[in-house]
Symmetry: C2
Subunit: 212 residues, 2 copies
């Protein structure tokens, strides 16, 4: 059985849990609070010297890092990844878009709002992060004008990758009001068989989000 080391309220970690649940694939989950130093302990660094979650560990001890690479590996040969090479490349294109043009803004704005003190100097980054986050959402909204999903003809790993932080963009002060197609797509994702919601931030994080 595989083991996933992850922080449950992290979108990057939740991606992997969501796909595993939808695949019905057994796994062991080891909770790591990366917001409070859990990825900096000697024990964790022995598993992943890069000090990041999620980490996927096979039964034989082999390690895989990077959430979207895990999605690709888990989905190969399943309906969550197209068979057609061009469609597979399009799904990967959205996943690289997610990691380069979406997550560094949408996820980082959320992190700063919920997991840094109200007087953190990092809060000065928020206006720029929100502006770039909206640019990413506009790209998604445009795609959804002519497509139902991001993975190809049906729901799959590019949708999971983009869902993870898009649905909690408001935690970072990035409202979804201007994106009706994104809101409809989020609802379609939430209605897929075996969908499991991402846990809510804890009370401390929620209080910070409410005041951000």
């Amino acid at each position: 059985m595989i083991t996933v080391h992850g922080f449950s309220v992290s979108g990057n970690c939740h991606k992997v849990r969501l796909l595993l649940e939808q695949l019905g694939r057994p796994y062991r989950w080891v909770e790591v609070d990366s917001a409070r130093g859990g990825t900096r302990t000697a024990g964790f660094l022995a598993i992943n010297p890069n000090g990041k979650v999620p980490v996927l560990v096979r039964e034989d001890g082999a390690v895989l890092t990077e959430s979207d690479a895990m999605l690709f590996w888990l989905a190969e040969g399943t309906p969550f990844l197209p068979d057609d090479a061009w469609q597979r490349a399009q799904a990967l294109s959205w996943m690289f878009f997610e990691q380069y043009s979406h997550e560094p803004y949408v996820a980082v704005a959320r992190f700063i709002c919920g997991w840094t003190p109200l007087d953190s100097p990092r809060r000065a980054e928020l206006p720029r992060l929100r502006e770039r986050g909206h640019q990413a959402l506009a790209v998604m909204e445009r795609h959804l004008a002519t497509h139902e999903w991001f993975t190809g003809a049906r729901y799959g790993i590019a949708d999971i990758a983009l869902f993870a932080y898009t649905h909690v963009a408001p935690h970072g002060g990035i409202a979804l009001d201007a994106y009706p197609r994104i809101r409809d797509w989020l609802a379609r994702v939430q209605a897929t068989p075996g969908f499991v919601p991402m846990p809510a931030p804890d009370a401390d994080a929620q209080a910070l989000i409410d005041r951000s």
Copy 2:
């Protein structure tokens, strides 16, 4: 025949050219000077509304964005991408690392040094970009202590993805002196069959790099 719209001195664009050359696959190259507005023209935006190079266009007009997704598509079924699913996922893991933890520092530092004026306010970002760039190089150096390549047992698309900006890291003020294994790996990449070098920056960019 496929068409690639790209800026030849951009590492992200050169990745695609290098693989096409090594595959011996015919292609048409359309030069787009993204540092001087070439990706903001109406003509270019009609091809890629996101306004980024590279863009790959199939003969039937279908478009693929994101350099590393292009590498994956071009390499499927060739020796540049492993057949084994776990090895393929490891290659993708390095490509996501490249786009998330390497390119935003190593490539952006190079861009700022060579393609922004000496009095650009963006130059204030350089110390942090260089620090994070060195962190990425340290991760690569550690991998190379026990592996010859990043794609698996042999040279392939993860090596091409990482080579693109690593070999020109010094343009951004990120020296490679402290990374002997990276320097050896760069030489191995440069010795692979069909290797083509990335064009040097033009005289204006080189003058800025020299003074940065």
